[in-house]
Symmetry: D2
Subunit: 438 residues, 4 copies
């Protein structure tokens, strides 16, 4: 994690303070359950809540103890006993460190997922607003970076909306994957602790009990979680790449907001660069790069080894903090995006109507030409337009009319250059994406 | 794809013959829909089915045509016209190549997913059978490769079962992701084809219409699909790694089936190696390696570029064929696994009862010692056992009894060395994993 | 490997025939060395060369034998004895299968590297030719996709040349890494074969002896090899991306060659798409994706496990065949690239001289303005130009002259709009890249 | 970067203080060169060194300025002018931010590489010392985790030594790759700054001038650097995995040092776990995961985009800090490794001499049996030993003697069970790895 690409709410989830608070809650809930089973005194459980519930744990003190014990959970329990007093000895009865650590990770990842879900909701809202605004803003669709046929800027944004709606569903599923609790002992057999403790703690923390753990919660769950983040990051890159393309000097159909006083370059005062979306492209690479280590974490040895731990200490915070930042940044970019419909129209007109080549092709086919001949007729006139370096306005229609082999009438040809033809199903697409009344 | 790691049924999904059959079906269904709209003659649509439906497409002939046209879909349509005759000109009306190609990929990935789901079902069945068989086969649980506490071999297999049950659900979700149909034209606007054609074809092929496509189906769907395969591959590696460990010479608690006449090594006739599970480990790496290219495929330029295509031509078959092979191989390994309960018991006894150290620790705590003092008492006796190089049978109990500071009675100590203590919740775990009546 | 992205010479390196030929040579050279040591009769070694040296090994027959023996090396040796006769029993004395397999992989990777080096040489030649041709073809340099300052198209190509010259050196180093021979027996101790055999075979095959092998050649060598291929693939993507950008409709400064009769799109006859460089982008993803499995192959268990084998069976051919194809395709793209200097000039002029903004800034600084004030003066006039939608020719100079706070004379301003200023060090760059006389 | 896996010297390279110090040096050296060219006053250049050379830059103050300017280099220059006074206006003449930023990254990566090279030197020293110590400590070599033939623990360590010697050479080459300086302006044309400035700064900082930069130093250099770190990390994992295996309870041939008072597990006082090498396995995954983003960074758009920046802000420190920590930890593990030769011997004896099976096979072949018959004879006796569950001492020889078809004399058989046979070339291997006098 680096502060430059981090937002406080997500950072807080991964702070030492948050971690120790969750540790306390797991221990205190477990003690409650043990008290219910008659294994520890009810008063002790109550005292633990009373004294620990409102306490703020001293991270530096715990660090200090850990330097002696070289064990983080033991250090915490020692500090807890300093706060709670002798009743602290009833804490952690029959539990192992992993019970606390793995369940804590589940809580942190679930909370991180909740924040990311909320980020996506904001992004969806922004995408929808701008999509509605530009529902009928006609723009050239491009395949291979080359003008193809017209679409609308709203349709572009509707695609992004649909993609992030899918990402929301994926993330919700990934959240469920990791929202599990394990309090099952050294190899998961509940030898020293009753399964009902796990059930109680799970319920209190909003988790489900892991059906079968082996000291650790199986890491396929976490792998799926981080893989899902990688997919979401890739979608961010897709939208970012679109905007970077639209902002190119020769295209300039849209542009990141450029505030008064902002400097695009220290050396060249004329610059306005899509630095936010370029940054998002880089952040996407980072999140994607964390998928592979998460996948490698699955094949732990026997009931567990600890190789996953260092990986998760890094990618747990890094992937979620980076993605949270990236989603928020993308939302802001979308909200503030400067859109230039007049440039869209100018670019659309650049090829003198060539974007209707398919339509002409179909008309020729319907007029009796074979598909091959139609294609050749259209292509040869299209290439003439293509090679013009001057203004191409109306040239495609003109050349078609001048081509003696093209048997379409001038009226037929002229009729094929209205843009409404291309946009007649925009509403269909919008109702599919945003619902019937969109 | 290499034949050594491929099974015919999955290979067939990706054959040229299958591909052209799907292409035909898409075209023929679309022509039906166009006939319904009155755009092409109903008789033509009928003729196409009659002549094309039973035809076998000549792959070499199509290749020959493609060498001229340099366009695969056009080559196919030309060949189709050779089969169907003049009515073939009504095929592909208003469609683009991507409509056919992307929908075909959806069909192939869906079928591949179905086969993989069936593979997982077989694996689950095998895991369940062996888990039930070894429900109470006691074995030492190991954390960090070091003896921890006892569990059963059935619990190990139950964990694998639960993990693959999760993988099944993930794969079913991933299958839904890619089971979409796009027949929406050059930039997805349906300019030249009515959306109802897409709906018709989708229904006939068991797909859903893609709400918003842009010539191509968005690649976040495919990214999620391949990412899921990467998670499944990682779970395969986990089980494979477990077996490789169990078969080590010094451990030998289980062993891949070794057929009469088989040779473990060309040079060393005494060898019996876990080559199948080692192979699975390598195959898992391969499938995982395909996740990154699939993620990079998401950020296509504008309405589409074709960079994803070469990636999918390779990883589409390679990932599904390799995973199909790996799942089947793992199923076979599990079914035929040689399990050695007596070696499990011998290994369990190796440390002279040290696996009960936690239990002794808890007993001392309950007897009034602080956790720290209890730990020190147990550790010092445990380390004495650890350092014995000869037979350690009964030594841990003996040393505890001989330790004057250990205030437990001999009876109390002896009572802590029964294995039932560790196994009392195996049934709980089984009912969680396999259901209440398991 | 898929035929579409494969060239015969590289495919041949990986064919069964090539493999068996190398196997034979290793065995025959080793037998020579054993004969030199007096361990096998010299006549036998001679007979093996005489009968096997000119033989063509029957792949199907070997496959047939392998179906019985389930061991590929044994199957080959059996087939060899069918060809050579009883002297065949002197073959493979004291060797293990890995001695043959690993050394063969070294030969194949070395040969593949040689071919790739030759590919890079061709690419370098093409880049140099086009760079010289366009040494002074002025074009706008772009940072962030936005016009920055002028450069030349030759400088762009010179950068690509320098990058691939580095890649050549990297690949030559990677080739050295894998050009090693191991004939050291079951765990690398030479227990059953004298180290001089390894030295002899290595010399004959153009390899170096592996200083310490452990049945296998250590896989860090291969990891480095494939990692290097991943870097080269990424450089291919860089050049491909540049061309894709230059071919965009609005930019069109360069274009992939488009042959007469070629079809850019089945549906839209007007299209000319950069499909080759898009394809290269996808191929780069594939080669990059093979780096991770190669890295995971390093940590084999103890003296070896066989998990690396399946990975290498796939990525050995796939990475080298794909990269060979990609390098050749890129060379062809460069050679045939259509370059449009007039479009470069038109784009350069698009912003009415704004690319000289830094120069004006520096002049103002030298005229006594603080950097901050200079920046503000230039920026406010630049933004006025930026926002013009009509022809911007000469506007930046005009606005500067009209700005009463800009104290530069009209002559000073006009003098800042010659392009020679930007190109004065092109020769320096060329001499750095291509040598003093370039 | 997380403090737990970081060492101060490497962290310092990446601190804000170090960064600003390098920025200053670049600017000051460049001003010197500009003074030499007569572009800025020599006194100014001198003043800059005098006031800035001993200054400590105030990170908080720079952050404060950056909050206003939103540009890090401008913020630094502003702070510099607070320190240096009016002469500061001569700093940064004709330079762009990237000139400073990219050259700084080169310095940081070079310094990081130097530290890593020194880490590898320490590791090599430790490996050599332990290899010499255990040159003749006989141990069973294992392929597939199964006993193969004897080797020595020293040979295992010699392999690791040779592997890290290769890694050292790779890293030295990777360091050269990134040790370049670019001061070439907005698109690399030296339009506003003379190439001699770059040469001067390069020389002063121990770098080479980048032959052709394009505002940025090309990222294939950095990709190669991080790919090399990924290979080194994988070698770390290999050694770590070896130790984890050797420490398994059933094997226990070596063990990480376990200090008095250390606790292996909070719950199980008997545990001694290989947690350091498990941790190294996880750290290797992390470093490997950073290779893919570095490779994706190569294909920047045109003369540059800024997508690489966020990636490098994270992986620059993270990869080098993590690898530095990992190398140091591995060195410490090797130095302090507890080695148990008696357990090695006990394990070696476990199979009753089966590790000589190849030797018996060869003897039978020499005695006139075909290879196939020899194999069958050895295998059937080997399998009888294999299936014994009790003590197998001497059993393989005994069964061979009892097998009437085995025509070897008892003396011949007994002679095949000395270990010297396997170790006779250990000295050869050592002289290859450590030099002739090793």
């Amino acid at each position: 994690m680096i502060p430059r690409y981090a937002r406080p709410e997500m950072v807080a989830i991964w702070s030492a303070e948050s971690k120790y608070r969750i540790w306390f809650e797991i221990e205190a809930h477990a003690t409650d359950a043990l008290a219910g089973l008659g294994i520890v005194p009810k008063e002790a459980a109550q005292t633990i809540w009373e004294k620990g519930g409102s306490a703020s744990f001293d991270v530096e003190r715990i660090d200090e103890i850990e330097r002696t014990t070289k064990h983080d959970v033991i250090a915490f329990l020692t500090h807890l006993s300093e706060i709670v007093g002798p009743e602290a000895r009833f804490v952690h009865q029959g539990m192992t460190s992993s019970d606390v650590l793995d369940t804590t990770l589940s809580v942190q990842l679930s909370r991180a997922a909740d924040l990311l879900l909320s980020d996506i909701d904001s992004l969806l809202e922004a995408l929808k607003t701008r999509a509605m605004e530009h529902r009928n803003t006609v723009t050239i669709g491009r395949s291979h970076g080359i003008h193809a046929e017209p679409t609308t800027f709203g349709v572009k944004l509707a695609e992004a909306y649909a993609e992030f709606a899918r990402n929301r569903a994926r993330l919700a599923a990934a959240r469920e994957e990791v929202a599990v609790c394990a309090i099952s002992g050294a190899v998961g057999t509940f030898a020293n602790i009753d399964p009902s403790v796990e059930e109680h703690v799970a319920e209190k923390l909003g988790l489900r009990p892991e059906p079968v753990s082996t000291q650790v919660i199986p890491r396929d769950r976490h792998a799926m979680f981080f893989a899902t983040l990688g997919v979401i990051a890739s979608s961010i890159e897709r939208v970012a790449t679109e905007i970077r393309h639209l902002q190119r000097t020769e295209v300039l159909e849209a542009e990141e907001y450029f505030s008064p006083g902002q400097k695009g370059s220290s050396a060249m005062p004329h610059k306005r660069n899509p630095v936010l979306t370029e940054n998002l492209t880089g952040l996407a690479r980072l999140v994607r790069g964390m998928v592979a280590p998460a996948l490698e974490n699955v094949a732990l040895w026997h009931e567990r080894d600890i190789s996953h731990s260092s990986v998760e200490r890094m990618i747990g915070p890094d992937a979620t903090i980076t993605l949270d930042f990236a989603l928020a940044r993308l939302t802001s970019v979308i909200k503030n995006l400067l859109v230039y419909p007049e440039n869209m129209q100018r670019n659309l007109d650049l090829l003198g109507g060539l974007h209707n080549s398919q339509r002409v092709l179909l008309a020729l086919t319907q007029a009796g030409f074979s598909r091959e001949d139609s294609y050749a007729l259209v292509q040869r006139n299209a290439m003439k337009v293509w090679e013009l370096r001057e203004d191409r306005t109306g040239k495609f229609a003109q050349f078609l009319k001048e081509d003696s082999e093209v048997t379409l009438s001038d009226e037929q040809i002229d009729a094929m250059f209205d843009e409404g033809y291309h946009l007649k199903h925009v509403d269909t697409i919008f109702s599919r994406v945003f619902g019937a009344n969109a």
